[in-house]
């Protein structure tokens, strides 16, 4: 007679229960608060139904921050993947084994830095008067260059820092993926005098389609965590040029009005959007 193995139950049930409690309590609470007029300063509140949500629809700042969030996602994900694939292929083609080991270590550093630190490093590098990045521009034109205060460039400058953190890290992963491929098709193509870019465009990258799509998805998920970078570098400014949804929810709930109910409504909309979108995509990709 086989004794039933209890291990999966004792190992999984407590952990999963705890995760469910930890994750769902705040979420349900957020949904509940979003139907009230709760503020930070008064513990009493009353039910207002969908008022917060209908107010959001007419809130131009909300529409603007949703648009900024969308731009942020598209820019950071595509730029990260471009840098990762380009640099990964470049390392694969031109670097010796020892160089690869060296570059892999160097390119891993930015992603390990606390986001707050990366933000400060670049905030000072972008400083209009003293920054090292803006120095060439100052030396040539004699004028200061203020990328973070210009509504046209601020979001791109912050996105650059995000790509700096993730793109180099993903380049290392792309290199490892390329190294894990069987060498025969590449060598066969070389014998046929295929150029390096042809080999990668037509052979290796199509072979790596699945992992690359997963990488892009991971980046899309991580791009949702833009708050710390934006908070330190621009605080959503100039004006509301870099105000993403989480930044807007934060300032509604904590800085300007203490309107927790309204902030919760924003959070709930973000929550529903991200869960639906990412669940659908993830299940499709990993079918």
């Amino acid at each position: 007679m086989r004794i039933r193995n209890t291990l999966p139950y004792t190992f999984l049930v407590p952990t999963v229960l705890l995760l469910i409690v930890l994750a769902f309590t705040p979420l349900i609470y957020a949904v509940m608060v979003s139907f009230t007029d709760r503020t930070l300063f008064e513990p009493t509140s009353s039910w207002v139904g969908f008022e917060n949500y209908s107010k959001l629809l007419g809130d131009r700042r909300f529409v603007s921050s949703a648009w900024v969030s969308l731009k942020w996602e598209v820019v950071t994900v595509s730029a990260t993947m471009l840098l990762a694939v380009g640099l990964g292929v470049l390392m694969f083609e031109t670097a010796s084994r020892r160089q690869r080991a060296f570059f892999s270590l160097v390119f891993l550093v930015p992603v390990l830095l606390p986001r707050v630190c990366a933000a400060f490093v670049w905030k000072f590098a972008f400083h209009p008067l003293y920054g090292i990045i803006t120095f060439p521009y100052r030396a040539i034109t004699g004028r200061p260059l203020d990328v973070l205060s210009d509504p046209n460039s601020a979001l791109l400058a912050v996105a650059f820092v995000d790509v700096w953190q993730w793109g180099f890290f993903f380049a290392v992963i792309v290199l490892k993926l390329l190294e894990s491929l069987p060498p025969q098709p590449i060598e066969a193509a070389r014998l046929d005098n295929a150029k390096p870019w042809e080999i990668h465009f037509y052979i290796t990258l199509p072979m790596l389609k699945a992992p690359l799509v997963s990488l892009a998805l991971v980046k899309a998920i991580e791009s949702l965590r833009s708050f710390d970078l934006i908070y330190v570098m621009t605080r959503g400014g100039p004006g509301i040029a870099t105000e993403t949804l989480d930044m807007y929810a934060f300032s509604q709930g904590f800085i300007e009005s203490g309107n927790i109910a309204y902030a919760s409504a924003i959070a709930v909309i973000m929550l529903i959007a991200t869960i639906v979108i990412f669940t659908v995509i993830w299940k499709r990709v990993n079918r």
Partner: protein, 269 residues
């Protein structure tokens, strides 16, 4: 040969984009303001330890360091105690239910941090654990448990089943196999997974910002507040704080790069 030289140049340029800002920050940490705030960047200067001493000498920094260490290490320990057994069970019993659990654990990462932080703040206020280490540990456990489980699963899958079966024939029960065989064999990759979860919570900002105001502040919060001291931003002090805050994650660099190498070496096999 020519294209190789061209490629090498670009490769080094990219490496410089990583190294130069970091090296510059390191230099700035040892500059006085007069050397820092110059229109032409100064490469040579007489270094000062003032900034470092100022950062390390502040009571708020010391308190935040203690908070960060206690909160992060406790959360990582909870992640280890609950996440690793869970990961093992999923790795060894692949079926429909465990697949769904695995997806659920991953989907926790989809949650926008604000959507967790805002309600948690209100709940913690009601429970009286707002701005306490306990409150932070609980919040961070959600992160560490899920990430430890997620990264632990492939590590346990790579433990050869034959090794476990050999132990079972020697009379080990399923639990003994986990503790005495699977854990030690997967040990090195698991260490990488734990390092990842430590870095995630050490670097975490939004939850700490919303769940603390005074007593339980962690280091990233203190660092971000330094830019708001007085009218003139004390860039030297700020650079010193950035360097010190970045040290712990960077010390784990070797461990993590080894983790990555192993993870991809397995795929090749």
């Amino acid at each position: 040969m020519k294209s190789n030289f061209f490629g090498q140049t670009i490769l080094w340029l990219f490496a410089l984009i990583v190294i130069v800002p970091l090296g510059w920050t390191l230099l700035n940490a040892f500059k006085v303001n007069a050397d820092l705030l110059t229109p032409v960047p100064k490469l040579f200067f007489s270094p000062t330890l003032e900034n470092m001493a100022y950062v390390l000498g502040r009571d708020s920094v010391f308190a935040a360091l203690i908070n960060s260490l206690i909160v992060c290490l406790s959360a990582v320990a909870i992640g280890l105690a609950l996440g690793l057994p869970g990961a093992y069970a999923i790795a060894r019993h692949p079926n429909r239910i465990t697949k769904e659990i695995q997806f659920f654990v991953l989907s926790l990462r989809f949650l926008p941090p604000v959507a967790v932080a805002i309600p948690l703040m209100v709940i913690w206020l009601n429970l009286g654990i707002y701005d306490t280490r306990i409150g932070m540990i609980i919040a961070y456990s959600l992160i560490t448990i899920s990430i430890t489980m997620w990264l632990g699963i492939p590590s346990f899958v790579s433990v050869p089943r034959e090794v476990e079966e050999a132990a079972r024939i020697d009379g080990y029960g399923p639990y003994a196999v986990f503790f005495w065989v699977a854990l030690p064999v997967a040990g090195k990759s698991l260490l990488g997974a734990l390092a990842f979860s430590f870095i995630l919570v050490w670097n975490e900002f939004l939850l700490a910002l919303m769940l603390t105001t005074a007593d339980a502040k962690t280091l990233p919060i203190i660092a971000s507040e330094m830019s708001q001291m007085g009218m003139n931003v004390p860039w030297g002090v700020l650079n010193a704080a950035v360097v010190l805050l970045s040290l712990p994650p960077l010390m784990l660099l070797g461990l993590l790069s080894g983790f990555l190498n192993r993870a991809f070496a397995q795929k090749t096999r």
